[in-house]
């Protein structure tokens, strides 16, 4: 027994030895300190990937793109027929938003900010991250309505953030954008890791103001007074004045940085063709963007639109080789994603001028907006041709129904920018689109998307509170700024 005791004591001493534990549990796979520039680049890329798609990812923008009837499915017409109600937004929070947040935190934390400043002035990095966050959140609320905002992104201190209503979010975002623009110190220097503007702080200021213009105009139906003030201030502060100012994300030639649409069309059967609504309209107007937006059909060499909103069987019976696929440039590896373009800024100003909110000539702005769109797609018309395009029926600016003129032309200009096209249509009511003929359960064109299933199970109380206020979690429920007239 004594021996046993001696042996036990000896073993105990051996076992409790833990000198090397810390070293053993040091992670060799992932770093604990990284450059804020690398986080910024990653966050911008994540946002673009989640929204517009990248590499093997469709993103979500194609869904409103299909709702807006630019495209029609060649076989599985589920999206065209509004089959799925829900859409997931969690990627945006977990990836882009959390990384933008991390950039802000590293640039604000007393211990970390000096290290962070190696990649640009702290204030400028923070400002860019704030603008990008505002851009992301407005896209989310435009799709879902009420979403977690004020309590979101707090990690383990709040796993069940409440949903803020859209009005609250819009007001907060406009403040964010105003503050962020003011925070920018152009003289202090540029920032690194900025894919969108290459660290050009003046450009970021213009983007913040232009976004403020966009957001302000969103409120035109529900809060015209506020909208007027915001729009006027934004324009006064300075918005995009040329294509050079465009907020675009440049894709690269090779995976995983190539465009998602490129990837989808390069491998596997083409799932979407240009719809006959789009193709017919472009043909009718003799619109030069036709050749940029669509390809002639493989079988006939003619521009033929795909019938929209029909059953799988009907669509499958046509065959993608008989219809016009999206344009070669649209599907190319490096074709940038447009976060916000000059043409849009002109359309917004045209509308503001028409309302008398800014002192300018609406018709001129409207025509410049169209020309800017042509310019973007490299199909500019010379003077006479442009004039005859602009003066034809269906294009000529109609001061009595400027919503129709602007709505229809904005729709033609917003090709590839699904979410913005959808918002514009919901707010202006133009162009007039008919619901899919074989819409599931005779649904109307969606006005929002349903919340992801995961929120029902993981954040149920707040989810329920949100739909109690906002209305049923279906696609017909109108958002706050989309109030019925």
């Amino acid at each position: 027994m004594k021996k046993i005791f001696v042996i036990s004591s000896f073993l105990l001493a051996l076992a409790a030895c833990e000198k090397d534990f810390e070293e053993i549990n040091t992670n060799p796979n992932d770093p604990s300190v990284v450059a804020t520039a690398d986080l910024m680049a990653g966050a911008q890329r994540s946002l673009v990937r989640s929204l517009f798609g990248m590499y093997d990812d469709w993103g979500i923008a194609y869904i409103p793109h299909v709702y807006m009837q630019y495209w029609a499915a060649t076989l599985y017409t589920n999206v065209d027929r509004y089959e799925t109600i829900t859409l997931d937004f969690t990627d945006f929070y977990v990836e882009a938003l959390n990384d933008f947040n991390e950039v802000i935190e590293l640039n604000s934390d007393e211990k970390m900010m000096l290290e962070a400043a190696k990649y640009g002035p702290n204030e400028n990095q923070i400002a860019v991250a704030r603008i990008m966050k505002a851009y992301t959140f407005h896209n989310l609320t435009d799709i879902w309505g009420a979403i977690p905002y004020s309590e979101a992104l707090q990690g383990n201190s709040d796993f069940t953030p409440k949903y803020d209503d859209q009005q609250f979010i819009y007001e907060a975002l406009i403040t964010e954008l105003t503050e962020a623009a003011a925070q920018i110190d152009e003289d202090a220097g540029s920032i690194e890791g900025d894919i969108i503007y290459g660290g050009n702080m003046a450009a970021w200021k213009l983007f913040a103001n232009s976004l403020r213009l966009r957001l302000g105009m969103r409120l035109s139906k529900v809060a015209p007074d506020k909208a007027q003030a915001i729009v006027a201030e934004a324009v006064h502060a300075g918005v995009f004045t040329s294509q050079r100012d465009n907020a675009v994300y440049q894709y690269l030639a090779s995976a995983p940085n190539n465009s998602g649409w490129n990837q989808q069309y390069t491998f596997g059967a083409p799932e979407y063709a240009c719809s006959e609504i789009l193709v017919n309209r472009l043909v009718e107007l003799d619109d030069p963007r036709l050749e940029a937006y669509a390809q002639p059909s493989e079988a006939t060499g003619e521009y033929v639109g795909m019938i929209y909103g029909v059953s799988n069987a009907e669509a499958g019976g046509i065959g993608y080789s008989n219809v016009s696929l999206p344009g070669v440039r649209v599907l190319s590896t490096e074709e940038p994603a447009i976060l916000m373009g000059y043409s849009e800024v002109l359309f917004l100003q045209a509308e503001a001028a028409a309302k008398g909110w800014i002192n300018d000539e609406p018709k001129t702005l409207y025509e410049h907006a169209i020309a800017a769109s042509f310019e973007y797609w490299d199909v500019s018309l010379d003077g006479d041709a442009l004039n005859s395009y602009l003066q034809q029926d269906g294009v000529a600016y109609d001061a009595d129904n400027y919503e129709k003129s602007i709505g229809e032309q904005a729709w033609l200009a917003f090709y590839t920018q699904g979410p913005e096209a959808w918002s514009s249509w919901r707010r202006l009511g133009y162009p007039e689109l008919a619901p899919a003929t074989k819409a599931v359960a005779n649904r109307d064109i969606p006005r929002r998307k349903g919340y992801p299933y995961s929120e029902f199970t993981l954040n149920g109380d707040n989810y329920n509170a949100a739909i109690d206020t906002q209305g049923p979690d279906v696609m017909e429920t109108r958002l706050w700024w989309d109030a019925e007239n």
Binding site: N27, G42, Q154, S254, G317, A441, L458
Partner: protein, 1056 residues
């Protein structure tokens, strides 16, 4: 490893030395009878004591043995009779009469730390599994051989996947997100059982099943398996004992004269035996009319991968093969549109498994050894799939000095598999195929595709984009997929231990062990030119090593006439390291079919991950016995783990148990043995390294700009190991001279401190957070019954029955959280508070208050989202064995069963969507074919009521009805996974020794063996209810499985 090598050399030398001696040989013979009836006893085994030399009596009770020993002792043993030892002296004839045994032979079992104990002294349940059947009726993954044999152990295999996964759980589920697989210990060495399946496979998104690596253990080398189901039995293994332990003891050499040689050979054939009921009335297409070519000829809808097309009525139509100019026989010709009912059945080949083991053994007073080589060669039922495995093992022991013994047990396994079948309905950018249950055209004749390249070398595909465009639309020719887009994986593994034992006193010995288990594992996959996706090559290399150094002191003493004491104290230091390197080409291969990472057009996608873990432990046990009827035992273990916070990294795992052999006091003639037992224990489930701090995650760069991101998972600096506390009580008894017996165990377990990568609302910025929270409860009952209805000298019949019922409940998750999702496909698998683990949630039928299904005004079922569709855990499981022995014959049959448990079947769901399955054809309730237009009386009517309570009267076109159903009502495809399977059959014959008396052969056994012979009952249509998705926790989904196989063959066992 130097010591290992030296030990091995000694063993080899010894094995050659022992061959040399040859003395004079003489024969001993005689007859064996029952002492009471005087009837001759056939089948009695006779062994010359201390040797392996033995025989059995023939039908007349006669026997003959040859020996060179001067005064051999013969040991006569027979089931149900008292074993006798007879000293033969120089006699040539020894006749013996045997007595029936009324007292139990105390069964000896292997318990934790490899300590053998008498079963009656244990205060907890330990079950032994005979290994003899496993080497005859073989499974490539030996874990499958345990199915149905042990109460409370649930095995879920994936029979159709060559070398595929087998999931094993004991007494329910103890961990919400961690491993629920038991710890495997071979000769005291922990053996890794990782599963390196692709995430697609484990998440039911399609992929290949690479199997769990415990299948490296070779059944031919197993002596016995001891299953430690409960916490008490396993408590000495501390922080990884929560899920139970499977202790395997390998065969070792025995003292004998000369070298014993045995040859065990098995040859089995495998056939796909559970195939879906496909419809054979309609062919491929979306509509029932053919399209026409410009010349007016009818043309099949080749781009469709569904079977809603025209009726298979023999019309002449241009089919896929008529568009290839090089197929001159068919080019431009219309052929009849007819069914090929056996197209899938004939696609699957007859597989075979050939296994050969040769073992040499020998020994003397000083040393013993066993050397074994096994070769397994398997060809799967899927074309171009094969498995090869070679196992070498050496097991030796030598007395270096009177008190010093050295031993080594080393195994080397080398295995390689080509062409693991791609499973699942769809799988990203990987090889996909075998979509016969999901996306297919029923009329296709796969025989036509066998020569998958035309004479000109072009790949022939059926799923043509259009008559003008011969590129495949969604699917390639399956033969092309299997022969040119195959996986290859290979593993080299060494495991075993060396030890040195010193007998300090007759009562105290101390042993030092050095143990290791290490392997390297390579997986490769490829997509060839011509595949519908970009060409690709990927390769992963994994290294795993676990070393354990252990010192164990064992003390055994009779303290007095009444008391006996046994004390064990040990210390162990474990180090587990893994290393993973992965590369995948991007942007296609630079040169067609140049399968190498250097062929990547764009920068290679890489991954590189290592892990390191150290656990120091000290443990001890003490057991006290009183007069052979009262026993008490206490154990404790402390584990210090490097993966836990430094200031809080030690955890204790104690246990206490006791047993009372009440039959000792009863002295009843009816009750031959009776014992009651009770135990309490705490066990743990460890944590992975690097889960304490937060790190950044490297992403692929944007051009030259590096990219990092905050990970999606939030770590936790205060992590604790999971703990399971368990109470178990049992009673076992045998009656009427051991002819009938039972063993009942009840237990209740509570698993707390669950380490949960808790899925949280992504709006928090994280998709999951590692938390220590939650509680799981398992309670259950296990029953084993045994009976010997007939026991005569010539004939005996033994029945074994086992049954287990486990009730699992998720008591609590983290604060404020009601659900933890284990994963989802069309349905999600969840841990919901208040529900059993593995609750399926999906869309279901909305019902009214009378339970009737609701149908909307357009004739569609009303959908209820987030419906609870039941748990994947079964209500109960069990098995029945029958063993019949008649003279040299032995018949063994095993039937096992599972009641309940839910299974979502993608084969049913997608197979119906695509119009492949039988339920999409036939007549509707109006007596008109369902697929006829509604206008002509066809279509299908949803059976339910409208909101106003009226019976729905609207008929929908068949594809509309079924597609709506599959897209919106997943409940329809959730089935009861109950099954009864005829799992195993062995009919063996041991040839009489007399037949080969003059040869060196000592025994010959020949068996007919069968595994998975028949499904006697199942409720899931089309597929096998056993459908493991690897061995992770996400289960309950059948993902368009490869059909299960029936295996039949022969086993020959010859001993020299």
């Amino acid at each position: 490893m130097k010591t290992t090598r030296e030990r091995l050399i000694i063993c080899f030398v010894l094995c050659f030395l022992t061959v040399a001696v040859q003395a004079q040989i003489r024969a001993i013979g005689g007859k064996v009878q029952d002492v009471q009836s005087g009837v001759a006893l056939p089948g009695v085994s006779i062994l010359i004591k201390g040797t392996n030399n033995g025989t059995i009596t023939d039908s007349e009770g006669g026997y003959e043995l040859r020996t060179d020993l001067v005064d051999p002792t013969l040991v006569f043993s027979f089931v149900g009779f008292v074993t006798q030892e007879v000293s033969a002296g120089s006699s040539a004839t020894i006749d013996v009469t045997m007595n029936e045994d009324s007292k139990t032979l105390s069964e000896v079992v292997v318990t934790a730390l490899g300590i053998t104990r008498e079963q009656e002294s244990l205060g907890y349940s330990v079950q032994n599994v005979s290994a003899s059947g496993m080497e005859q009726a073989r499974e490539t993954n030996f874990v499958n051989s345990l199915a149905g044999k042990v109460a409370g152990v649930q095995i879920t295999g994936s029979a159709g996947n060559i070398g595929g996964s087998s999931r094993i759980t004991m007494r329910g589920i103890n961990s919400i997100s961690g491993s629920n697989q038991p710890l495997f210990i071979v000769d005291g060495t922990p053996i890794d059982n990782s599963n390196y399946n692709e995430s697609g496979t484990t998440q039911a998104q399609g992929g290949r099943d690479y199997g769990n690596v415990i299948q490296d253990i070779n059944p031919d080398d197993i002596e016995s398996i001891s299953v430690l189901k409960g916490a008490n039995a396993a408590a000495l293994y501390g922080n990884r004992a929560s899920n139970g332990v499977i202790l395997i003891t390998t065969k070792s050499g025995r003292g004998r004269k000369g070298i014993g040689v045995s040859w065990n050979s098995t040859y089995t054939f495998e056939k796909a035996y559970i195939l879906p009921d496909y419809q054979n009335e309609y062919g491929g297409g979306y509509v029932q009319e053919f399209a026409t070519l410009d010349n007016g000829e009818q043309v099949a809808e080749m781009a469709a991968d569904e079977s809603w097309g025209p009726r298979l009525d023999g019309q002449m139509v241009r089919q896929w093969y008529s568009f290839y100019p090089e197929l001159t026989e068919y080019y431009g010709k219309a052929t009849p549109w007819v069914a090929h009912p056996d197209n899938i059945k004939n696609f699957f080949e007859t597989g075979h498994t050939r296994s050969n083991n040769i073992a040499l053994e020998g020994g003397n007073d000083l040393a013993t050894f066993r050397l074994s080589y096994t070769n397994v060669d398997q060809k799967g039922i899927v074309p171009n799939s094969s498995l090869k495995r070679n196992t070498f093992s050496i097991n030796g022991q030598v007395k270096l000095a009177p008190k010093l013994t050295a031993a080594a047990k080393i195994n080397y396994v080398s295995s390689s598999v080509i062409g693991r079948p791609p499973t699942g309905g769809w799988n990203g950018d990987r090889a996909l195929g075998l979509a016969f249950n999901t996306w297919f055209e029923r009329q296709l004749d796969l025989e036509m595709m066998k020569n998958y390249r035309s004479p000109a070398g072009r790949i022939l595909n059926w799923n043509l984009s259009s008559p003008e465009n011969l590129d495949p639309y969604y699917w390639n020719n399956d033969y092309f997929v299997l022969y040119e887009n195959y996986s290859a994986d290979s593993r080299n593994r060494v495991y075993g231990n060396v030890s040195l034992t010193y007998d300090i006193t007759p009562h105290l010995k101390i042993t030092g062990f050095a143990r290791t288990d290490f392997y390297d594992y390579k997986q490769e996959d490829r997509l060839a030119e011509g595949f519908i996706y970009q060409t690709m090559y990927e390769k992963s290399l994994r290294k795993f090593q676990e070393n354990n150094f252990e010192i164990l002191a064992q003390y055994n003493r009779e303290l007095s006439k009444d008391f006996s004491l046994s004390v064990n104290v040990g210390m162990n230091s474990r180090r587990t390291k893994t290393d993973y390197t992965y590369g995948k080409t991007q942007g296609g291969l630079s040169s067609p079919n140049y399968f190498n990472l250097k062929a990547s057009t764009d920068p290679v996608l890489v991954d590189d991950a290592q892990s390191d873990l150290k656990v120091n432990s000290i443990y001890g046990s003490a057991s006290l016995g009183f007069r052979n009827f009262l026993y008490a035992e206490a154990t404790n273990r402390a584990d210090w783990s490097s993966s836990l916070p430094l200031d809080n990294n030690v955890y204790y795992f104690p246990s206490v148990s006791g047993s009372f052999v009440f039959s000792e006091l009863m002295k009843s003639s009816t009750v031959s043995f009776g014992k009651a037992r009770l135990g309490w224990a705490k066990t743990g489930n460890g944590t992975d390294p690097y889960r304490l701090l937060n790190y950044y995650e490297a992403q692929r760069p944007y051009g030259s700009q590096p990219v990092f991101s905050v990970p999606n998972s939030l770590n936790n600096a205060k992590l604790k190991p999971e703990e399971t506390t368990s109470v178990e009580a049992g009673i076992e008894a045998k009656f009427f001279g051991n002819r009938v017996g039972f063993d009942v165990t009840v237990y209740k377990k509570k698993s707390t401190n669950q380490i949960i990568p808790l899925t949280v609302s992504g709006t928090s910025g994280y998709a999951e957070a590692i938390v220590n929270a939650g509680e799981l409860e398992n309670k259950g009952i296990e029953v084993s019954l045994m009976a010997t209805p007939v026991r005569t000298p010539a004939f005996s019949w033994d029945i074994g029955f086992n049954f287990a019922r486990n009730r699992n409940k998720v008591i609590e998750l983290a604060a404020g959280l009601e659900n933890y999702s284990l994963g989802s496909t069309i349905v999600s698998v969840n841990a919901f508070v208040g529900e059993p683990y593995g609750t399926l949630i999906g869309t279901g039928y909305a019902i009214d208050d009378q339970g009737r299904r609701l149908v909307d005004g357009d004739g569609y079922y009303v959908q209820q989202t987030n419906k609870n569709l039941g748990s994947i855990l079964p209500d109960f499981t069990g098995g029945i064995t029958n063993t019949l022995s008649y003279k040299g014959f032995e018949l063994f049959a095993l039937v096992d069963f599972q009641k309940g448990g839910k299974l979502f079947s993608r084969s049913s769901e997608t197979g119906v969507y695509s119009g492949l399955m039988i339920e999409t054809v036939g007549d509707n309730d109006r007596g008109v074919p369902k697929r006829d237009p509604v206008a002509d009386g066809g279509g299908v009517r949803a059976t339910g009521v409208t909101e106003t309570g009226e019976e729905n009267a609207i008929y929908l076109e068949a594809p509309v009805y079924f597609k709506y159903l599959t897209d919106n009502i997943s409940e329809e495809y959730v089935f009861d996974a109950t099954f009864v399977k005829f799992r195993e059959l062995r009919l063996g014959y041991t040839f009489p020794r007399a037949w080969f008396r003059s040869t060196p052969i000592q025994s010959i056994g020949l068996s007919f063996v069968g595994r998975n012979l028949a499904v006697l009952y199942k409720a899931v249509p089309h597929v096998d209810p056993e459908a493991a998705l690897g061995s992770d926790n996400f289960q309950g989904i059948e993902d368009s499985q490869v059909p299960s196989t029936r295996s039949l063959g022969f086993n020959l066992n010859v001993k020299f």
